[in-house]
Structure formats: C-alpha cells, structure tokens
Amino acid sequence: MKTLDAQASATAGGADPGWLAARRKTALDYYDKLDMPSDREEVWRYVDFDFALDDFNLVDAPGEAHEVDTGIAAALPETAGSMRLVDGLTTEVHNADARATFGSLRALLAEHADLFEPYVARGTPSDLNKFAAAHTAFSGDGAVLVVPAGIAIEEPFFIDVQATTSGTASFPLITLVAEQSSQASVVIRYRSDDDVNALVVPNLELCVGDNSHLKVTVVQHWGGATTSVSHLRAVVGRDGTLHLGEAGLGGALSRLQLQIDLEGDGSSANVVGAYFGDETQTLDYRYTMHHQGLNTDSDMFLKGAVQDDALSIFTGMIRIDEEAQKTNAFQTNRNLILSDGASAQSVPNLEILANDVRCGHGSTMGPLDDEQRYYLMSRGLDEPRSNRLLVHGFFNEALARFPEPAIAGVVTSWIDAKYRAAQEAGRV
C-alpha cells in the first residue's frame, strides 16, 4: 500500500494529462497546508474526527468485489450501462448504450485527454478543505458519463462503488454530464462490509446543460466501520433540471457536502433525502442551493430518523443572488427521534439578496406521533406494528419523490428492516 504523499499523488492516476497533473500538484500543496477540519468551523460543527487522513493508505490493487445484491439488481433489470469501482479503481465496465460516453475516468482520459477538463474544473475546488484537497491530489480513477446534446436515455446508468480493504483511503471521482437538451438517469451505490475500516472520499461533479434533465440517485450503504466524506457540486444551465435523491443508511460517519449552482435562467433542482442512523452512526448533510439565474426553482426535502445513540446533522443554505429574481426556493427537513440517546441537528439558513422571490423553510424534530399511533391501534394494529407503519410512512413521503421509484422501493425495504431489527432487539 502507498502512503498519502507526493509520490503517491504523482502516480495516483497513471499517466495524467498535463492539466490534471497541474491540478494535482496544486491540490497536494493544499493538502499539505490545510489542517484537519475542526468542529469550531460552522460547516464542520457537531462533527469530531478521531483519525488523520494519513492513517489510511492507497491500495496497490483493488480488493475482491461483491456482486450487486439481489434487491438492487431486481430494481435495475435493464441499464444503459454499468460499472464498478473497488477501492477507488475501476474493475469492470459494461456499456450498453453506445450513444453516451460512459466508463472509467482513467481509461477515457487516455483516449480524450482534454474532453473532461472543463467539467472537472467546475467541480469541488481543492482548497475547500483538506478532504477535497486530498481527493484531487490522490484520486486514482472514477466514473464518467457524458450524454451528448439531444440524446435522451431512459434506462438508468449504474455505478457500483465499493470499499473492500481495511486501512485504505479511496477517492472516486464521478463526473456526470448531460449536454444541451439531453436526458439521463444515474444510480450510484456505495457499499462495504461492516468490518471494513476504510475512508472513502468521493467527489461528484454534475453538469446539467441547457434544457437537459439529469436524475441522480445515490444509495449510501457503507458498512458500520467505514467513514465517508463526500462532496457534490452541480451546475445547472438554462432551463435545465437536476433531480437528486440521496438515501443515507450506513457508515460510521457519512458526510455529504453539496452545492448546487442554479446558474441558467429557468433552471431548477429537486433534492430529496432519506436517512436513517442507528447505533453510534453520524450522518452529516451540508447542503447549499445557490440561485443565480432568473426564474429558478429549488426544493430540498429531507427526512431523517435516528435511533440508539446516532447523530444526524442537516444544515441547509438557500442563497439567492441579487440578480436571481423570481426565485422559488424551499427547504424542508423533518426528523424523527426514536431513542432518548439519539439526536438530530437541523439548521436551515437563508441568504436572500433579491427582492422578488418566494422562499420558505421548515424544520421539525420529534418522536412518533401519539395520536397517529392511537389511530392505527384503534384499527387493530398492535403497538410495534403501528410504529413500524409510522416509520414506513415517514420515509415514504421522501422516497415517493425519489428519481428512480424502483430504487426507492429497495431503500424502503432496507429502512423497514433496520427499524424492525431494532424493535426485535428491544432497542426501540
């Protein structure tokens, strides 16, 4: 294994084109200079890291992959293409739809050295924090999708991201591009076994071209010992639409920091989340919706539950530029606290510089509703069953808005099972 140093950075991607090598070098400088984030900074508040990045190493070769589990496979009977990244490196690619460019970043860079530069340049900047710097410095591979202008692809693309080797850090880069007037759907699945103590730092870069429609579904199902610190940056062009759903189920600590720039006039973003933490999990969401164009719409709708000693964090920022008149922007975060030891933080923020906008936010937190439980019990359902139905319904409100209904169905069954297991163990 390779330690996270200058030599590892220089060789991480194999033969980098010049522009990428230059980015890496800059990022490595930031990586060396920046301190580990501290909970004294607002954007890292509530989170404490008990490790250092260089506790982890890069793999020499990917570990043995898991097959896709049956639930996901059944939900995706047909894909427009699928690929697998294991410990940060591509292990297989099946490209079914020849109209799109889809596959391993490293392989495609070798063929089209300059194709991705403008997209990658729009992604999360490497000076954002030490993890973002490490990502650019050490990322060895990733997944790329470019849907050309005017092409609409119905079947989803599937990207299976796995961590299999304890002690390793991996930095998968996922770049998804929908060119003008195109349409695509992508499902990203993160997984690892419960005993894999790995650090995964994915970056997602989404470019939604003018008048295009991109659907992205992220299913985060890391094992209980895996830590993930991910960033997502999206740019949406004129009349473009981004529909993003994230389900957060696993991980010792799993963080997603995202920023969506509604750059084009008439652009919109629909962001849905469903997350469920138990035991000592921390699920950490930091969302920024940045309205820049005229007549832009956004809706963030996240529902989270915590039980045992889990902690969840949602901070949502709606930023409306002075030029972004006629904006409609809403964020909703509802939290279910299922155990006395569990806690949730929910911090909605607004920063509005325009004067002709509609904007709203709502945040709630509490246990299951007694009146709803009484109603269900009056129909003959015993208390545990009533509670299960209420938890199911709570998440269903979010999952019903997910971009891929079949995937939402699988996530629903996992969430139901997670709550049921806690019930059967007498934890809730």
């Binding site: 709803q372 109603y375 009056s378 129909r379 003959g380 015993d382 139905l389 319904g393």
Partner: protein
C-alpha cells in the same frame, strides 16, 4: 346472543377531574343508538374510554358481544370488534389507505376481510382514496366516509361514531347519516355520538340517550330528538341546572 355493547358503571377521570360518573348504556345488535349531550358532558370521553385511550383513569365494565374490553390495550379492543370513528381523523402521512388495510387484514384472522374491502370500495365509492395517504388532504365529508368504510371492512361488532356530523355542511351530514343507515346490520350495534340533533333528521335511531355532566340522564325513543330540536338541552332535562344550549351550526373545518 349477547348484546352488542353493554356498558355498566363506567367512571373515568382525567387527573383529579371526574368526567364520567357511572355510565350505563346497552346497544343491541342491529340497532343504532344516539348519545347526545351538551359540550363537556363527557360524550367524547366515553368514546375514548371505551376504545382504551390511556390518558384517562377508568373503571367499570364494557362488554363487546359479551367480551370484557376494559383493561385491554387499544388494539385488542379493536380486534374484539370495537370500532371508533373519529371526530377528527388524524392524517397519517406517507401511509396509504391500502397500506393500512393490508395491516388490518394481517392482524385479523378473517378470510372475508379482502372480500369486504372490495365490496365496500364499490359501495362507498372509495377506489380513488385507497392509494392516497390516510385522511391526507380529504375534505371533512371524505374523512367521515373513509371512517365508515374502515368500519365496514373491519368487521366491527360495535361502532362508536364520535361526532361524525361535526364540521360538515348539511349535504355532507345527510350523506353520512345515510351511510350509517346503509351499513346498519344484524351483526353490528352502533352508538352515534352527536352534539346536534340535525343529523337525526336523516336517520332512524332506535334509541336516544342524553348525557349531562358525566351521566346518562334520559333514555328514550326518537321523539327525544324532536324535543331537543324545539327546546334544547335546558328544557329537556329541566331538573339539571345551568346547562348550555346547543350552539348554532359551526363553521366547516
């Protein structure tokens, strides 16, 4: 055959406040009884106490088809055959009526449950509500229709309809009254709780019970409704002091 509902000496208090002071009511199978009374007389408390809501201290006996339900958890009372139609049915977000029906079926050993669901969906024109959230975004009348639908499919032996006419406009009151009559059966006893006599114009109750200050002070035939309509609760129970008169029709909610 036992009577559908036999309530004897039911007392209930909320904290230090005694609300029910010994209630006796009998509803035979096949009959529809009405329990009337002014605000604060304890009608809704009786309903909750019979269903088993845990915020009251309650004593006494309530037999559902001969089975004692006092002391049982809410869900066991329901499976014994007791059904409460709520005054304000709570919305259950994200849970469709079909989800609820599936769970109701699973907890009952009742091979005819599904048949009733299909039959009653047709009879009560419920198909458009089954994939919607329970009570979500329904009008007052639609919520009451959904309650009556659930009553019919649950296979209830006793239905307590808690002010199913409140908050409805006059057309909806008539509709719900007709539903009660339509669902009348030899296997069911109904106790309809109401504050207003107007719903009685559209149905034929077998008996009317008047409750004041936690006790049933009068039981009689439908003629009581006519008296109430004419004079309100004050004259009807002349020996009870300082009883508020019924209010005018409330705003729809």
């Amino acid at each position: 055959m036992a009577t559908a509902l036999q309530v004897s000496g039911v007392r209930a208090s909320y904290g230090d406040l005694e609300i029910l002071k010994g209630v006796d009511i009998e509803v035979p199978f096949g009959e529809v009884h009405v329990l009337m009374g002014p605000n604060g007389s304890g009608k809704s408390t009786l309903c909750h106490v019979l269903m088993g809501k845990d915020e009251y201290e309650a004593t006494g006996s309530a037999l559902v088809d001969g089975t004692e339900v006092m002391g049982l958890p809410v869900d066991e009372r329901a499976r014994t055959g007791l059904f409460e139609a709520f005054q304000y049915p709570v919305e259950v977000p994200g849970v469709s009526l079909d989800d609820l029906l599936r769970e109701m079926d699973e907890v009952r050993d009742d091979p005819e449950f599904q048949d009733r669901v299909e039959a009653m969906t047709e009879t009560l024109d419920m198909s458009r509500f089954r994939d919607r959230a329970v009570n979500g975004g329904l009008s007052g009348g639609e919520k009451k229709r959904s309650e009556m639908f659930q009553m019919a499919v649950a296979g209830a032996k006793v239905a307590i309809l808690d002010e199913i006419d409140s908050g409805l406009d006059i057309d909806a009151v008539r509709d719900v009254a007709h539903l009660v009559e339509e669902l009348r059966s030899d296997d069911l006893g109904v106790l309809l709780i109401t504050h207003y006599s107007r719903i009685l114009r559209y149905m034929n109750p077998d008996k009317i019970h008047v409750m004041v200050d936690g006790e049933v002070v009068r039981t009689g035939g439908p003629e009581i409704a006519a008296e109430l309509e004419a004079s309100g609760y004050v004259d009807l129970v002349a020996n009870e002091a300082s009883i508020p008169t019924p209010e005018v029709t409330p705003f729809d909610i």
